[in-house]
Amino acid sequence: MIMDEFLIRALLAGVGVAIIAGPLGCFIVWRRMAYFGDTMAHSALLGVALAVLMDVSITGAVFVVAALGALALIALQRRAPLSSDALLGILSHSTLALGIVIVAMMTWLRIDLMAFLFGDILAVSWADIILIYGGGAVVLGILAMIWRPLLAGTVSGELAAAEGLHPERARIIFMLLMAAVIAIAMKVVGILLITSLLIIPAATARRFARGPEMMAVLAATAGVVSVMAGLSGSLAFDTPSGPSIVCAAALIFLMSLIPTGLKRGPAHEGNMR
């Protein structure tokens, strides 16, 4: 039953990535970093090209390039008067374009560009799964350790710093975690869609969460459901798996917007700022 094993591996990989992406995605939503995440993910293709050129581990190279990209972005944002929105727009698309151009130039190598752009979850190996769960455990463990300063810094960096936490350090560690997730998740959903797996489940979770920790757990759950639904859809309709998973996530998000009559919060909630 070869098909079965394919499926099990795909499902395990997808579920693992969704569990890691949920909590991290919450911070991306709270910190309004969607574009930032996109830029980091797009730079991953440069990492792929470099890894192939230098014959080193693709995952490692992607991590290093995405991490360096994130640190460079932080440094740039500190000094450049250019609005960070425009800055990210420039970098996001130029790194992506550069990555595609470089990969295309290496005609002597056969790189399956589509697999990197949109993911190839059915080609996931057991080694990949070990990487996803091992790396994922490390990522979530570190996230748990920096949770308080990172959350406090998300609410107010100055408040956190004044009271002796180190929000800036937590933020830099968070960027490294993002780079790790991009490296780990690239094979499952592809670099074009990684941010959606980070953001959409978190957005879905927002409505039902009563606190930040609950939102992180619900986001992971919504991601897992999206992966399962997306994979089934991909098999049933013979559609590409990465985009199918993202479509499922988006559908679940839309469904979460439907009023349920579920009582949430005090009655005067319409009085939102």
Binding site: R32, T154, E163, G164, G211, P212
Partner: protein, 275 residues
């Protein structure tokens, strides 16, 4: 929250001492030559017109922004509770008032309840912070700042948006805290009337320290009157009318205005040896 807690910093030694501090940005001095010391149990209030550098001063002292000249010394192991002037919490984050209380540190449920009760927010503890009114949110910020029983409370316009009765209650709470917690308070206030009541030292800021001393001495100083004009005179009148005495924590009334009435950078005696 009911017990009397002694500050971890020995009394007599300042919690924080800034000398000759200046901050320069884009070829402009935002503040210059600022001297400021806060001792345990002391309330130091910064007053000054908009843009006079009050927030810049406290943010510099807290180490949030870099200073270009001068020295800032903090007592070792100093713990701080901070109420910033501005804080907006993104709608994407679900955060109840109760969860907000443990933002920068863990606290027992009983302590959270007590702190919320103290600012009159018990009924609001499960509401999202984003739905709180301006005044309610300010009270929550104050409750959160005091829950860790810090050595130093830094409050940047803590009663903005709070109604008149609530304002008096909050200032009474702040004034009481220094006795109960033995903490020092660095307060920024735009309300000259209130400043006159509970403060040990007033520092009048206008880019630099233009005068400092006891409230009465500052209110009578010509620099202060030049800066605040008629409002200053009015505040002084109110000061004379209402605040010719003070209440000790046990309720006894003492005449004030005899000892500390000099404009200087020295520090008046503080009374935190209470029973």
């Amino acid at each position: 929250m009911d017990s009397t807690v002694q500050s971890t910093v020995p009394s007599g030694q300042p919690l924080i001492a800034a000398r000759g501090v200046g901050v320069k940005r884009a070829q402009r001095w935002l503040i210059r030559n600022v001297d400021l010391t806060v001792h345990p149990g002391e309330i130091v209030t910064l007053i000054g017109p908009n843009g006079s550098g009050k927030s810049t001063t406290v943010r510099t002292i807290l180490g949030l922004i870099r200073h270009d000249v001068g020295t800032i010394e903090r007592a070792p192991g100093l713990t701080v509770g901070y109420v910033p002037q501005k804080l907006s919490i993104d709608w994407t984050m679900p955060l109840t008032a109760r969860r907000f209380m443990t933002l920068t540190g863990r606290h027992p449920v009983a302590a959270i309840d007590a702190a919320l009760d103290e600012v009159g927010l018990t009924a609001f503890s499960d509401r999202d912070v984003q739905v709180l009114s301006g005044g309610e949110f300010q009270r929550l910020l104050l409750a959160r700042a005091i829950i860790g029983q810090p050595d130093l409370l830094v409050l940047d316009e803590p009663v903005q948006g709070v109604d008149a009765t609530g304002e008096i209650a909050l200032y009474e709470l702040i004034a009481g805290l220094r006795h109960r917690l033995g903490c020092g308070v660095l307060l920024i206030s735009h309300d000259l009337h209130i400043v006159m009541a509970a403060t040990d030292t007033v520092i009048c800021l206008n880019g630099h320290v233009c005068c400092s001393g006891s409230p009465k001495a500052v209110a009578e100083s010509p620099e202060y009157r030049t800066l605040f004009g008629s409002r200053a005179a009015e505040a002084l009148a109110i000061y004379h009318h209402h605040h010719d005495h003070a209440h000790l924590p046990d309720g006894t009334v003492v005449k004030s205005g005899d000892a500390d009435d000099h404009v200087a950078c020295t520090h008046p005696e503080h009374h935190h040896d209470h029973g």
